[in-house]
């Protein structure tokens, strides 16, 4: 009698609220893989969403691409996304969205409010990637990835490769981006992405646009402050300790030669603030381990001293790049993308409380001394210097 009653009023409960709320069948949903946000005149927001066509993956038939783009405008982000419903037979769903691409003019106007929707909505996941592009953001969704089925996965793979191998950009997730947005002591950074026209190598002249991730976009609070090129982005990665891999080309010690390339495998960095005669100063220590990529110099690395010297020169090269970046950030862009403010707040909370109102003025005067230690673990399979090029060797 006990159990029967328990199922009795459970069913009566179902009667109370017939139907199943917030229920969305798998085939009543339009899956979004990437979202691009542009800004039209008088501040209306244009949302372009790349929707996956599930059946395309199954039916062979005529070669229909697996995705199509849908675009709509609205006064706010949420309104714009809701307006997408007018064109879609199914309700759009961004639970599987991989990337959010912001156009330059959106970034310049300020991204604070736009991000609010993605933090509030229960559908958006925190591990989406945030990117900024120079031209129109919708343009990034047009080119077809050769290796991937849609833009979302393509961008995700590009970001992951940026972290592990090239470090040509500063990969940032929605969660990190919003944390730095909410923290007054920190200025956000985002990866830069662009569409590039490559003439088709087979020469038929059919130009197919490709997507490339290079450089980064640096913000001042929530407004775009400026762009960093590839090498600056890489040194920013070393400051923040985000990327693990990078390819550092070190000029030859003497004589002609293109240089020695060192592939970094893992980098760990930390910022230690200290006081130097009354002014805040920060020591940025980076410990990197790497291996020799190739040797296009006349040197002979078979001896240990040459190896130690190469390690020192690589470290010096990295320190120089990092110093150049700091100069550009402090003098031209005025954006604390490196996170000096966060380090100061953590180690000297009392001092930081007094400094924070004038941080914009103090920041350019903070002296940052990068200290890099590089350790080359292995020289690859060939040993010392094998092939001498040009003048028939010594």
């Amino acid at each position: 009698m006990r159990v029967r009653r328990c199922w009795g009023w459970l069913l009566s409960l179902l009667l109370l609220g017939t139907g199943c709320w917030s229920r969305r069948e798998v085939n009543e949903v339009a899956i979004s893989s990437a979202i691009a946000i542009d800004e039209e005149r008088n501040q209306t927001i244009r949302i372009t969403m790349q929707i996956l066509r599930p059946t395309a993956a199954v039916e062979s038939g005529q070669p229909r691409s697996g995705t199509f783009n849908v675009t709509a405008t609205g006064p706010t982000t949420a309104a714009a996304i809701r307006n997408l419903d007018q064109q879609l037979s199914r309700r759009p769903e961004w639970k599987h969205n991989n990337a959010i691409i912001l156009s330059e003019n959106v970034a310049r106007q300020g991204v604070g409010e736009i991000m609010d929707f993605f933090m509030r909505n229960h559908q958006s996941r925190l591990d989406q990637w945030i990117l900024v592009t120079r031209g129109k953001a919708a343009a990034v969704l047009v080119p077809r990835f050769q290796l991937e089925s849609n833009q979302g996965i393509g961008i995700r793979r590009l970001n992951q490769s940026a972290v592990h191998s090239t470090a040509a950009t500063v990969p940032v997730r929605l969660y990190d981006f919003v944390t730095s947005l909410t923290n007054p002591a920190e200025d956000p950074v985002a990866a830069a992405i662009e569409t590039v026209e490559f003439p088709d190598p087979s020469g038929e002249g059919e130009v197919n646009p490709r997507i490339r991730m290079r450089g980064a976009a640096v913000f001042q609070h929530d407004r775009l402050a400026g762009w960093l090129d590839e090498t600056e982005a890489r040194s920013l990665d070393w400051f923040r300790g985000e990327a693990t891999g990078a390819m550092v080309v070190v000029p030859c010690r003497k004589g002609p030669g293109r240089g020695t390339s060192v592939q970094l495998i893992s980098t760990r960095s930390s910022l230690q603030p200290y006081w130097k005669n009354g002014q805040p100063a920060v020591r940025a220590t980076v410990r990197a381990t790497g291996q020799l990529g190739d040797l296009m110099c006349q040197e002979d690395l078979s001896k240990h001293e040459a190896l130690v010297d190469l390690q020192r020169r690589t470290a010096a090269q990295m320190e120089a790049e990092m110093a150049k970046l700091m100069h550009r950030l402090q003098k031209d862009l005025g954006s604390d993308a490196v996170g000096l403010g966060v380090a100061l707040e953590r180690t000297f909370p009392a001092a930081w409380k007094k400094m924070s109102p004038q941080w914009r003025e103090i920041f350019p005067k903070v002296s940052v001394t990068p200290e890099v230690v590089v350790e080359l673990t292995q020289m690859g399979t060939s040993e010392g210097k094998l092939i001498s090029s040009g003048g028939g060797g010594k």
Partner: protein, 71 residues
């Protein structure tokens, strides 16, 4: 529709116990059960019909104003 559901819920939760109590002749418990069901049903009805009954949170805050001061 909701009211029907409420009625069904009241019957499903209250009736078996009430019947058992009446059968065993426990009038006092039966009385308590009946007023529990009645008050419950009225409270649920007032919520379903959106009658202007103040919520518990509001009454608590009103009572706590001397202690916490105006929020």
């Amino acid at each position: 529709m909701m009211i029907l559901g409420l009625l069904l819920l009241a019957v499903a939760t209250g009736l078996p116990d009430l019947a058992a109590l009446v059968r065993r002749g426990r009038r006092k418990e039966a009385a308590v059960v009946i007023c529990a069901l009645l008050i419950g049903f009225l409270a649920a009805l007032s919520w379903v019909m959106h009658l202007p009954v103040p919520t518990i949170g509001a009454t608590l805050q009103w009572l706590a104003t001397p202690i916490l001061g105006k929020q």
